[in-house]
Symmetry: C2
Subunit: 240 residues, 2 copies
């Protein structure tokens, strides 16, 4: 049996642009012996750790649980082999990042670790489209949610009752959210922003209404974030 000796850094890479990682995260990456990275990590981010062994542990939908156990195993094995191990995740590791399972695996194996937060896509998107998520007299609560149909999770049909709603991995499921919001009386003109590939060279954003969202979303290949609420109404002077 190997004796674990390495330390694991669970790092949030942020939305994609290499300079939207934190200074602390960039420094840990530059010290890494090995980096386990997700499918959403951009090539430019990996240029921050040219010295490291790179292991892609990208998950694809459909076989997520099996993939997660495999990632846990690679993490624990890496800590036995290397002194500085980085687990690099898109966005922030503690929000929709399946961190719990990896932390359990590390703790069960008695491995030392540290978590370095990352910019979650909702905040990078708000900056990019210049629409604050909260606004005095208009919006002062924000819900961050996703509709997962992963094994072991039931479909949750509650609509968050916050002023601004941000649906991660929002694609087709955001259309269902829009229909539910219409059903409970939200106005068809409620403003929406859809952002794809936030902070990347091919970022695209689109302003639309709740009624339009319920009817369909433009085709997309990258991760999509859907932001809904009065806070998304463009300002009079907004210059893009």
């Amino acid at each position: 049996m190997t004796v674990p000796s390495g330390k694991v850094y669970l790092i949030g890479a942020g939305p994609g642009a290499a300079d939207l990682i934190t200074v602390r995260g960039a420094r840990a990456l530059a010290q890494a012996d090995v980096v386990l990275y997700d499918a959403l990590i951009t090539p430019e981010m990996l240029e921050l750790c040219p010295q490291a062994v790179l292991i892609s542990v990208g998950k694809r939908s459909g076989k997520r649980s099996a993939a997660q156990e495999h990632i846990n195993q690679i993490l624990v094995e890496s800590a036995a082999q290397y002194s500085t191990v980085v687990r690099l995740k898109g966005g922030d590791p503690m929000l929709f990042g399946r961190a719990d399972e990896e932390l359990n695996a590390l703790e069960s194996a008695g491995i030392e670790y540290e978590i370095i937060p990352g910019i979650t896509t909702a905040l990078a998107a708000a900056a990019s489209i210049r629409q604050p998520l909260t606004k005095r007299g208009v919006a002062r609560s924000v819900a961050l949610f996703t509709s997962s149909t992963a094994p072991g999770e039931s479909t949750d049909t509650r609509i968050p009752n916050c002023d601004t709603l941000v649906q991660y991995m929002g694609g087709k499921e955001a259309m269902l959210t829009a229909q539910r919001l219409l059903d409970v009386g939200h106005p068809p003109t409620l403003p929406i922003f859809v952002i794809e590939n936030c902070s990347r060279h091919d970022e695209r954003s689109q302003s639309l209404t709740l009624a339009e969202l319920a009817n369909g979303l433009p085709a997309s290949d990258g991760p999509v974030l859907v932001m809904m609420g009065e806070s998304m109404r463009p300002r009079k002077h907004t210059v893009r």
Copy 2:
């Protein structure tokens, strides 16, 4: 009349530790001619811009609207005087940051600007206490909210219906939230984490129950974040 020529960077400093700002934010700070900073910005963060003129625009509760108009004015005047102006805000500027008012002022004056996101305290706190905000089968939605009694805002008594609730500036108002959660049937044993001065040298965190929170909070001097929900239940193996 002066002709505005400078560019304004609205930057999220993150929770306080100087290395939890983004790489992009740190670079912009290092180029700044003038930095307008909030009361929550730490001295170590200001060491990132030794070349800049520093202007404290810290707001104190009670006179927030007047202070905001004054800040807007300083911002616009600074852009006429300097080529690189930084407006540095604690956390993220687009979440509970009153960005809307500053963006309106900049746009009305025709001043170019860019927004650089920051780590919001909820994510830094989750990393620090090692409790993910979402957890498979337990929590997959997060509400970020505050109870403001600033002029022009009514008291909102809705309880967000998300799995994990994060109340910013949570002090005494989190006690009211806890009482409301009890009133609508949440269990008295619901786990809570309270974090003060997140990421700073004097960070303190405390694990308690919903019933305990309803009865009182320990005295605090710094910004307090209160996190509530099953996701806050300590793991079997957690080693702090």
